[in-house]
Symmetry: D4
Subunit: 206 residues, 8 copies
């Protein structure tokens, strides 16, 4: 058993088909929760300088453009528009871009969990990557579908994870230089933490 951690140096972030049309098909979370989670993961990617690839499926059609919360945060990401390939690794530009990143760990999230996420996860595992499926920044049409997809990915060896754990593994120590920025991220996207911070600050001067 090995526990090799996610770091700014060994991991990359793949955001698959977080598009505005597809996002409106997600029924596994409420829309405010889904946007919150996607934004939190993208913010982590930016904060920890994770190289990122944002890919879309037929973005000039009904699936729509990338969700603004992704594009506005991951401004340095490589953007790969797939004209038709469902599995992102079937697109040569995407496959090349991933290879070029030269990271052994891939953090994958997207829409929908059982198709574009699961297929990319399975292909990445086949190529030997250590793959993390960020399940709360991913969504799909139905809870049964999501659970089957997670079971399939875990069976294949992917590590199920959620954005808050990704962030905590990246930071490692609250005294790190990004600790304060990390705290602000938590306060924004895990509102109970924001409430705690505000209550604490007020109590100290009370």
């Amino acid at each position: 058993m090995s526990y090799d951690r996610i770091t700014s140096d060994n991991a990359a972030l793949l955001m698959v088909d977080h598009q505005t049309g597809l996002a409106n098909g997600v029924q596994t979370m409420s829309p405010p929760e889904f946007v919150n989670n996607v934004k939190a993961l993208a913010t982590l990617g930016k904060l920890y300088n994770l190289p990122a690839i944002v890919t879309t499926s037929a973005a000039d059609g009904p699936n729509g453009p990338v969700m603004p919360v992704v594009t506005s945060l991951l401004t340095d990401a490589t953007l790969i528009h797939r004209p038709g390939e469902v599995n992102a690794f079937d697109n040569p530009d995407f496959a090349a871009a991933v290879k070029k990143l030269d990271r052994k760990k891939l953090l994958i999230a997207g829409i929908s969990t059982e198709v574009c996420v699961a297929f990319a996860v399975l292909s990445a595992l086949k190529q030997g990557y250590e793959v993390y499926a960020v399940v709360d920044a991913s969504g799909t049409w139905d809870t049964r579908v999501e659970q089957a997809a997670i079971a399939r990915m875990v069976q294949a060896g992917a590590i199920p994870i959620t954005w808050c754990a990704v962030g905590a593994e990246l930071m490692g120590d609250w005294r790190s230089p990004v600790g304060q920025a990390h705290g602000a991220l938590m306060a924004e996207h895990l509102p109970f933490a924001g409430n705690l911070f505000a209550s604490f600050a007020a109590a100290k001067v009370a």
Copy 2:
């Protein structure tokens, strides 16, 4: 049967005990949903120039300060710190402030639904106000508690409502001067709407 609508001229907004400590006791919604709803209601108050009163219960103690999403938006609200009264109307300053607003409709939200919200709702009804309990910008510890509180308020004559209906009744027509700002508010707090807007804009130029 009468259906008299909420307008910028006949309604006021009472935000009761949306405090950071109390907010962490809310279990009827996820924290991202609760913050989203409270923020949406406060933004509506600001957009439609509703006179507002923000009141707190022992804000220098464990209940904590007002949630930042409320104070940052309702900058013109009258702020009434109650030293101990549970029912806001028992506080003479609060009662006087409400009276001074001279509005026949009161929109009330807060924490917790069955205590500080329900008590203020019942006192306001007793005084002859038309009272709207904004139930999705209110929260409490348990779903059964919330349902009993809503049943009690409805039994007493309060109108159960949610922020999106408050906003739609205030706007009335998308062609109104605030229509565009209202749309932006919807896009932010009802993310499916934001996705629709982005998809539509992209499709038009596709």
Copy 3:
């Protein structure tokens, strides 16, 4: 207490904002269930020759066109595009069209339950109509929102109903001339009934 039934002669059907963009914001049912229910209600309208009005909100914008299942079935409905009015009764053409129908009972369904449905229901009640809110052919973003909307409509005197009860009240007797067509509708939209019919037919010849 009076129980006056829905008939082909006393009722009209108002379909409010069943638009493709808005439909993707409905999270109170799964999309297959919602489409199924909307289609069932529209089919009942057609089968029982209920005069119908289909209205939309800004249908040339993000809200999108009327759901195809509505337009393909209610081909004789009056279609009223509202340029901006949230409450359909605020649109003079809609108000006139309803008046012209001269029916004392209005069956109202749409998106979203707490806004376009509830507002039309409240205005119709105010004008003296007997109003039925068809809650399973209506949808909205969140279950709490739906429940508050139903509580508000019931409090105001609207009758909560679902498409299957609407249909059964219209038919009245399985031996009526439309009984067979009604059975086919049930078999299609209440699939357990379709299974019963198929099993029965097979058993008789077994």
Copy 4:
């Protein structure tokens, strides 16, 4: 509309059939939640010196003795063992004891919500009492049963309430002499409050 509050002077507490055998049939809450709520209500009764009657149904049979959390707290309560009457008001001793209390408001909780609670509530309403059904300190076998019972009691004019609202209405103001004891009760039975208090105390000295 009238809103007349629960006070130490106008209210009495009726605990109906909180027996150890019956308690194990409650499936509307988890056992830790149910015991917590019953204990909280009993503690309120003691703290505010509410005259109390504890009654049992066939306590020397399978229904079992009174739950220890009730007897250990309400040591001054009148204890009425009913040999067979389901509706407590059918027992002459109980009816006389209630009458002797001479309180216009009755707070009623027990097992099961739809039988021993609902029947006592209905009889008390019939006799002209203002009746509060404390629904979270009451329990039954199934959620549908509980909801039907609450609907029946509300329809008859009973006020649905929960222990925390009972307590807040009794206290009225945190500066009252029992404010501190009330806070301790909250900390114990609404653990988020206990956590808030501990966090606040620690923050002040941090």
Copy 5:
């Protein structure tokens, strides 16, 4: 406010369309729970000698024969096969049979809650009966449908009730001659009670 109890002398039991085909469309309870509840209500009818009418809708077609648990228990019930009428009161034989019973209270259960139960309930209310909708011995296709039906019936004045409360109101006192038989019924259909009885008997001799 009046609270007039159900007794063997003032009440009758109407079992509407508990047919084997329809029963397989019930999705508001699990089948074992539904059969259990229907059987419990029928057993109560028999135990308390409630005059009963069992009616069916097109029982020689796909809806199927009466559920065996009903026919085997209510052997003295009047059986009315309706050839086509959805609302049982539209069938002259049924209407006459109800009239002939000469009871002021009607306990109504059946399939489906929003159609055959609700319609009979509404017609009975209109005729001046006191009507109890036994909601847990009734079933339908979907929880939203059930809740709308219950809201509609309560709005019209029907009393929502469940079989255990019906039984307790009928018995009144455990020392009644049928107390022991009533206990056996409880042990069978409310299995926690059966477990209590067995545990108690064993403990006494331990």
Copy 6:
């Protein structure tokens, strides 16, 4: 991968602590569902002549006697009362009785899933048995506890199963000599099947 089926010759049934006191602590199913499932499994044991061991934990104390549905069906079972051992295999009589059965497959069900069931399952696996955890004839206090217990047992190699699958694997073919009795068992404990049979029989003669 091997798929070796459960047969009357290779399997034994171990019923662990299905006692009346413990049964009233089960909150993972409703009591009617739990009794139904336990009875169904016991009936299968009897129908297929599976050697059975029924064991209890401190049955002369609060845990109570074996549930009557077990004892009345498994009349030939070996009954082992454990004076204190939690893990049944720690009791020498039980361990010897299992050994004496000389079956390679053990079907284990009981109360509670995470303690008496899981411990026996783990010990049996350690001894080399093929172990089936019959999870729907087992129960415990909380769903999270049940899910952790099932995950633990599956991780250790136990096969998760439910009574209906046990029965189907035992029968194998509806034309077997016990096919008709098996059908009767299904009709009783899977009531939708009973409804199907009744509907079919009626349809044939319609």
Copy 7:
């Protein structure tokens, strides 16, 4: 780890016991959702020319004939009526038919998940096939039963999947010749997609 995809050339579809009587016992999804999913999978089979076998259990008895949505779509499927065998592979004709297909991957769906689906899955795995359990086009009586069945199949090596993922893996690229037909299928069975398409088409011409 290997990820070998489902293609028109390597896979076959086995539809097990999707019969009208059995379908009415499915309680893991609503009937409209179940029919929708079964129809979607059958449509995929037809669109991608997957060789298919449809098998039934005692179809001339209460289980009823094949669901019409299956027979009307899979017109070229081999139809195997099993007179009594529960496990389809126990029927020599079925076993031979599967062998004759000569496909290494088997997609299996049916009723019920834990019996006829799980048994066929386990037998197919034993014979060396790569087996996909299409869990959303399969159904059973209870969620706990379904989850135990999925856990058992995954433990044995079956891949859990849902129809939408099956389809996406078969299509591979939206630019394939069947891309348009695939889109139509999605629009029909994943209604949010149909809404997206209609909104997009309207937006382009707006």
Copy 8:
């Protein structure tokens, strides 16, 4: 397959970040349930003399002090305040303290399940410990997050367990010297057991 039990001699208890601020972010259980479970596990640690380490994360900041139910029970525990390390094993004092305990089994619980619990579990597994994740004495912000965390820990080899199973494995036999104290613990934290004991005691003397 090995089944090596938890004993007083081979196991240690690690309580990770059960702090009052963090506890108010737990939404996977109600607060009364969470406190109850944490207290039960701590009481087991004390009763069975398990060496214990209590660790905190930035306890002088918003996360707050250790929950009083932990400190008041585990008075002999080693207390390690981590100034910033998220993974407790990254803190040299904690790592040394665990090593010094010299136990091969570690029972780990805390807040939050996917961060501080999961990270400690994974590090402990990597170091060769047998690790038990006590999931019901652990909590986090969201059920999906919890399930992903449990799946990740199980995938890595940790044993999922709950406090009641920990206790039962430690006691082993009710006749052990601590059996009576263990029973008292059960009565307190598994209230159905307390009810059973009280009912039994009363029945014996009835």
